[in-house]
Each structure stands twice: as C-alpha cells, then as structure tokens.
C-alpha cells in the first residue's frame, strides 16, 4: 500500500510558472521600489535645477541678460572670484591636513591613537554648522579667546581684527570640510598596501622618495576625488561666510540671498546660482574623468 503524500494546495505543479531562483525581484516590483525616489528626485532634485537654469535664461530680459547683469556688477564679480579663490584655499588646506590625518588613521596601530584620531575627525560632524561658526566667532572676536590670550601673554597690545575677515572664513570652512576630506581619502589610504613602501626602500629608495614615487601616485585618485567633493561643497557655503566673514568679502551665497530677499532680483540670483552650479559640475565632471565615477562615489560613502 502506498500512502499518498498530501500535497499542499499552495504548491504549484512544476509546469505552471517557473519560479526564478534569483535574489533579484522582477522589473515591475523594482519600478515600484524606486517610485518614491523617482518622485522626490524629479520634483525636488532635478526640477529645481532645471527650473533654475531655465529661469536664468528666460526671466527678466531673458537670453544672456541675467548673466550680463552678473558680470557687469563689480560686487558680484568680486564675490565670485572671492568664493572660488577661498574655496581653493580651503580645498588645499583640507587635502594637506586631511590627507595627513587619513594616512595617520590608516597607519595607526595603537587602539588609543586610532580612537583619538577618529574622535577628532568626527567632532566637527557632531556640531551643526551654525554651532561650529559660533565657536570660531567666540575664538576670533575682538574681545574673544584668541585676542585676550595674546594680550595676556603680551604678544599684542591692540586686539587683532580676526573676526569678519577672509582668514576667519577660511578657518571656519576648513573646520567644516576637513572631516569630509578625511573620510573621502580614508578608503584609498587604508587600502594602500604598506608593503610597497618596504619594497621601495629595500630597493634603495629613501622614505620620502618612496612616499613621493610609490605612495602618492597610488593614492592620487582618492586625493582628486576628495578635492573635487570639498571644492564643490565649499563654493555653496552660506552660514560660515555670513557669520565669520566681513561685509567687504561676501560669498556668492550671501550675494544670491541678498538678490532674492533684499533686492527682489530673482533672475540675477538664478544666473549667479547657475554659475556656481556650473563650476561644481565642471570640477566634479573633470575629477570623474580622471578617477572614474566609482572613486568619486567611494569618496562620498566612506
């Protein structure tokens, strides 16, 4: 006597519909999954940028007139050069300090040293951008920490004007961007095979020579990606330049904000914004051509 194994009703005969043994969902569920992003991205990432660009060319007198208005204004032109120049300085500082830090973290073997380095890298992340600027304002103010310390030590008689200067803005921005730079460079630095340095030295290279000829070329993609990311974010800065910068050296963001809220000149603000956007895209695009989209994304996800 053979017992019939009861077949569960849900089990389908082998012929009806092949079950795909893949970890991947089909196209339609996948489309449903990306639907929320598609909506948000279309409406609030793509559309604002498209709208901004269109407005820059069509609002006001249209054509290139808004850009002409930007370039005819001494104040805006100065601010644009100022923004780009200061962002370059910030980027350079972030690459030098951040590169040293990233390399130090990657090489540190003692857990205590590693912990100290990671803590210091992450501290600025844990302060909001407003709080960071506030801290530097407290340090740089005329009767601030730095000045009173210098005066107490007898190094200066008069208080130095540090707050509301380019210097203060660069310090404040570097403080904000340094963690980004470190995190963007860390994957490359920690992925670097330190044996290569030993090999170079066995073959007679000096430590410095090995760093310049072996290490630098191999970590260059990480450095380029970090530089591009830091620069692109830097040129958009708003809070730090307002709180630490002087009225004589405004950042583009301040000019743009004033155009909208004080002069009600939205078309010119749109044109200025498009210029900023173009600079960011060109820098990121160039970096991407040099190091590939992967390295750039790797720099972001750290």
């Amino acid at each position: 006597m053979t017992t019939q194994v009861p077949v569960r009703s849900s089990a389908r005969p082998a012929s009806a519909g092949r079950r795909a043994w893949t970890p991947h969902v089909g196209t339609i569920p996948a489309l449903l999954l990306v639907l929320p992003l598609a909506l948000v991205a279309l409406l609030f990432i793509v559309y604002p940028l498209v709208r901004l660009t269109l407005d820059a060319f069509t609002q006001g007198d249209g054509g290139l007139s808004n850009f002409a208005a930007v370039f005819q204004s001494r104040a805006i032109l100065n601010s644009l050069l100022n923004t780009i120049g200061m962002s370059l300085v910030v980027t350079a500082l972030c690459l030098v300090l951040g590169g040293s830090l990233a390399w130090a973290v990657a090489r540190a073997s003692r857990p205590a040293v590693k912990a100290l380095l990671w803590t210091s890298i992450l501290v600025p992340f844990w302060m909001g951008v407003v709080v960071k600027s506030y801290a530097w304002a407290v340090i740089f103010a005329n009767n601030g920490i730095l000045n009173s310390t210098l005066q107490n030590l007898g190094l200066t008689g008069e208080p130095l004007s540090l707050l509301y200067t380019r210097f203060a803005v660069i310090v404040g921005m570097t403080y904000t961007m340094l963690p980004y730079a470190v995190l963007a460079m860390y994957p490359t630095m920690s992925g670097f095979n330190a044996e290569l340095l030993n090999s170079a030295r066995i073959m007679g290279s000096s430590r410095t020579g090995a760093m310049v000829k072996v290490w630098l070329p191999l970590v260059r993609p990480g450095i380029i990606a970090a530089g591009a990311i830091v620069f692109a974010i830097s040129i958009g800065f708003y809070i730090t330049p307002v709180l630490l910068g002087g009225a004589q050296t405004p950042f583009m963001a301040t000019i743009i904000g004033d155009d909208i809220f004080a002069f009600f000149n939205y078309p010119r603000a749109a044109a200025s914004s498009v210029l900023l956007l173009t600079f960011a895209l060109v820098v990121l695009g160039t970096a991407m051509r040099f190091v590939g989209a992967k390295a750039l994304k790797g720099g972001l996800r750290a």
Partner: protein
C-alpha cells in the same frame, strides 16, 4: 637598509617625518579645540563670553530653560527632524532594495541621483528650491521644509542603508525561498530583521541632518518658521548671546550621543 641611504636622504626623511607628525598634531588640535572651548565656556558665568570666564556655574543652562525663547524653536526642530527622518527612510529604504536586489537598468544613475544633494552647492540648490517652492506654495510651510530636508538627508540615509544591505547575503533569502517562503516573506523574515539596526541608524542620521540644517530653512522658511539652527544663526548675527554656549553644548552632546548610537547599531550587525 639605512646603510644604503646617503646622508641628505636621511635628513630629508627625518624632516618629512617631523613635518608629518606636526601636521597630524596640528590637525587634531584644530579639530578638538573649538568643541572643547564651547563646552568649557558653557559653564562660565557673567554676561560676556570670555576666557577664562568671570566665574563658574550653571547660569547659562538655567537661562536657556527659564528664558522661554528656546522652547518653540527646539520643538519645531524636533518635529521637522522626525518627519524628515521618516520621509527619508520611506524614500531611501525601497530604493536600496531596488539597487541591491534587482537588475533594473540605470541603478547607478538612480544611486547617483540620490547622492546628488550632497555635492550640489547648497546655496544654488536652495535658490532652485525657492523657485519651485514659490510655484507650489510651499514657502514658509512646515511640510515644505520637511521635503527640502528629506532631499538634503537622502544621500546620508542611502549611504548608510546600502552599505548595510550590501553586507546581507542574498543567499539567505534564497535559502528561505527554497524552503517555501515567498520573496516578501524572505525579505520581512530575514533581510528586514538583519537590516533593522541600519534602518534605525539611518533614521538617526536623517534626524540629525535635518536638526542641524540651516541653509534651506533660511531660504525657504519664510519669516514664521524658526528652527533651532535658524534661531542661533539669527542671534549670532546680531550679538553673541552667552546662553548659546550652553545650547551648543547640549546640541553637541545630544548629537554625539545619537551618532554614537547610530554607529554602534551599524557595527553590531557585522
């Protein structure tokens, strides 16, 4: 091997080693100093922020809680940050499943799109948002700010979630499916559970990103919406209110705690 090296090379090596050490030390001091300073000064007294303070005490903290100025912005910030975190998850969570568990063409592009808000210069982005928000009547509305903050938080949330989902082996789902589970059952029973700490961590990162955000609120918040960063921003522009040191310290400690929690949650899973 040092015998192979000539003297100048050794001098250069020593100098570069010292220089490297100095750079790292300087960077660490630079990073820690402002935070430590705010922390220390928050326990000072007197109506000016100075170092060393005139005296020590909890005046700054009692002022925050008694003045009544800080309550409304804080509540608003909490509210907006909560909805932002929920919204960013609602967008980010399905997305990472589509990225890691489907063969949809254009996945790289979609991921890039989600990362875009981090690298678009924020002031240019804010102007574009301003135009769109004016058109859609979202200026000065709470839900408008939440939307802007969702876009702002998205890169971080997607990075946290996709890094974690990458580490959950699809084979686990396949194993469940060979034992008769449907795909959705395999996802809810296995993948979601393994991903839960990352989801919480992503929630915290989304929350913090909104809680700290000050540019969008300035461009899009109108006159009525004042979040905590906006309140501090406005007051620092005109005068340095000593009570801000206490608020800044509380913010720093709160965010540090949440970040550590978020990071610890992510590590647990590995």
């Amino acid at each position: 091997m040092s015998e192979l090296m000539n003297r100048p090379a050794r001098v250069i090596d020593g100098a570069s080693r010292v220089l490297g050490g100095l750079l790292v030390t300087a960077a660490v001091a630079f990073l820690l100093l402002p935070a430590a300073l705010v922390l220390v000064l928050s326990f000072g007294t007197g109506n000016r922020v100075q170092f060393p303070p005139q005296g020590w005490g909890l005046d700054r903290y009692t002022e925050i809680f008694s003045s009544g100025n800080w309550g409304a912005p804080t509540l608003l910030s909490f509210e907006i940050a909560f909805y932002t975190a929920v919204g960013a998850l609602a967008v980010g969570l399905p997305l990472v499943f589509a990225l890691k568990r489907s063969l949809l063409p254009g996945r790289q592009f979609l991921e890039g799109l989600a990362f875009a808000p981090i690298v678009i210069p924020i002031s240019a982005y804010a102007v574009g948002m301003y135009a769109v928000f004016s058109q859609l009547d979202l200026i000065g509305t709470k839900h408008g700010i939440v939307i802007a903050h969702i876009a702002h938080a998205l890169p971080m949330v997607v990075i946290v979630l996709s890094t974690s989902l990458e580490q959950i082996k699809p084979e686990l789902e396949l194993a469940a499916m060979t034992m008769g589970a449907s795909r959705s059952r395999a996802w809810t029973g296995i993948t979601f559970r393994l991903l839960a700490p990352a989801v919480l961590s992503a929630f915290l990162f989304g929350f913090i990103s909104s809680f700290d955000e000050a540019v969008f609120i300035t461009f899009l918040g109108g006159a009525g919406l004042i979040t905590l960063p906006k309140y501090i921003f406005d007051s620092v522009q005109y005068a340095v209110d000593p009570a801000i040191t206490a608020m800044a310290t509380l913010l720093m400690l709160g965010v540090t705690f949440l970040m550590l929690l978020g990071t610890a949650l992510r590590k647990d899973k590995k």
